[in-house]
Symmetry: C2
Subunit: 269 residues, 2 copies
């Protein structure tokens, strides 16, 4: 989905796009949809590429780079699109010095080449996470790609990226899914059914990311475990404080907590 | 906002609507917008009403009924639109036996007569919470009004209503606002700013109800304190379990928790 969307926009921006997939059907669809100029099952077909954007799942990035490496010229720039950067950069940078960690922050709930969309990255953040060892020229090449997509490039360390996305992406998933686990604890079947019947936009929005793809959520927790646990610890302290305010009937305190939320929210929008 | 919207739809359905407000300007706007057939500052103007729908804030409902009572015929049915029912029914039913607790579950973030909308209740739940002492005829009259609005009437006890809305309305507000308090604990200003820049639809949706009107949120907590604390306790247990799963690297367990959320969510939509 991300790879196909990148192909659509980069071709539109004048880049030549070579696609590689493990499945011939995906190659065929990529050509039919205009996602790539050519498409192949062979990693060797990328030997002449200037930049390679790895769009595999997180857990097969390393093995992909090991397979790809024998075919590449040293000046080829590698980048990825993974949603966690610390462990990825730690794994790939030693394999390929010209690697720049990347995270274009866009997507939909759909997957696969058929879900590819034009202009998906327009106005969206595109985070690059070079280390002190990453060649500046490599960063510049990927930065130029982000600009060609109409995205808003950001630059930070892998650790800063992972802490930031723990707050605004991974923590909300865990907070949201826990709503369902909590509702399961209602002992009365009548009240449970009534709650389901009465749920409206407030519950729908708050529970949306917690009701998403379980595999993606589990991978977030796995790859960003440390930063996520830090965020969850802070969240639990905040929740405990609010519970203590309600138990203690500290109504001005609760109003102040809620007013801070109302004041903070525009900073994130 | 709720009173004005009820007026628009009930007039359209053929009911005669008498409006009462404490402000002449509101009466004038009500007539100008076609919200009522007549509008007055005087509670005595409601002496001939068959049904009176009290749309004041929760904390002045009781005193409004005390002021209204001398003007009414015993057969007049009173109902309200408050978002909590247990304490309201306990307060009003002894003052007026022909009272039926009501909660039309619709609204927007806007307030006041200018925010009144036609068809606001169409397809939305309208909960009635009679007690064993409530006359059945009174329930039938308010039920008919809910049907005339195109709403979906539900009937349950005040306690069942309050437990159900604690799960799907009040708990989400507290869960959502705690996200902002948690993010405030990030020690690095750079990471805090990056998180704000990277926040997108996931954070926006999960944080929406927590960034709403603080006064409304505080009243929810105040009037539905007991049911909300029960829901918050269950929520904290669920969150603690998820944190323990991540700490213990129980990836199959986390995937199962997330899959349950994905499976439960359609029950609430």
């Amino acid at each position: 989905m991300i790879g196909g969307s990148l192909g659509l926009d980069l071709r539109a921006a004048g880049y030549g796009v070579l696609g590689v997939s493990r499945q011939q059907a995906t190659c065929d669809r990529a050509l039919a949809r205009g996602v790539a100029d050519s498409a192949s099952l062979e990693l060797a077909s990328l030997a002449g590429a200037d930049v390679i954007i790895l769009c595999t799942p997180l857990h097969v990035l390393g093995q992909t780079v090991v397979q790809l490496r024998p075919h590449l010229r040293p000046e080829t720039v590698l980048t990825d699109v993974g949603s966690v950067k610390g462990p990825i950069v730690a794994e790939i940078a030693p394999l390929w010095p010209n690697f720049v960690g990347g995270h274009p922050m866009a997507g939909t709930a759909d997957q696969g080449i058929e879900a590819a969309l034009s202009n998906l990255f327009q106005g969206r953040p595109y985070v690059l996470t070079p280390t002190a060892q990453t060649p500046e020229l490599a960063v510049e090449r990927v930065w130029a790609i982000a600009l060609a997509l109409g995205a808003l490039p950001h630059r930070c360390t892998p650790e800063e990226h992972d802490r930031a996305v723990a707050w605004i992406s991974h923590l909300p998933v865990m907070v949201s899914t826990s709503l369902f686990q909590a509702c399961r604890q209602e002992p009365s079947p009548e009240v449970r059914r009534l709650a389901q019947q009465l749920a409206s936009s407030g519950f729908r929005d708050t529970s949306r990311v917690g009701g998403g793809n379980p595999e993606l959520g589990q991978l977030m927790a796995r790859y960003n475990r440390e930063a996520l646990l830090t965020s969850l610890g802070a969240y639990r302290r905040s929740l405990d404080q609010l519970i203590a305010q309600i138990e203690g009937e500290d109504w001005p305190g609760i109003a102040q907590t809620l007013a801070q939320g109302q004041g903070d929210r525009p900073l994130f929008l």
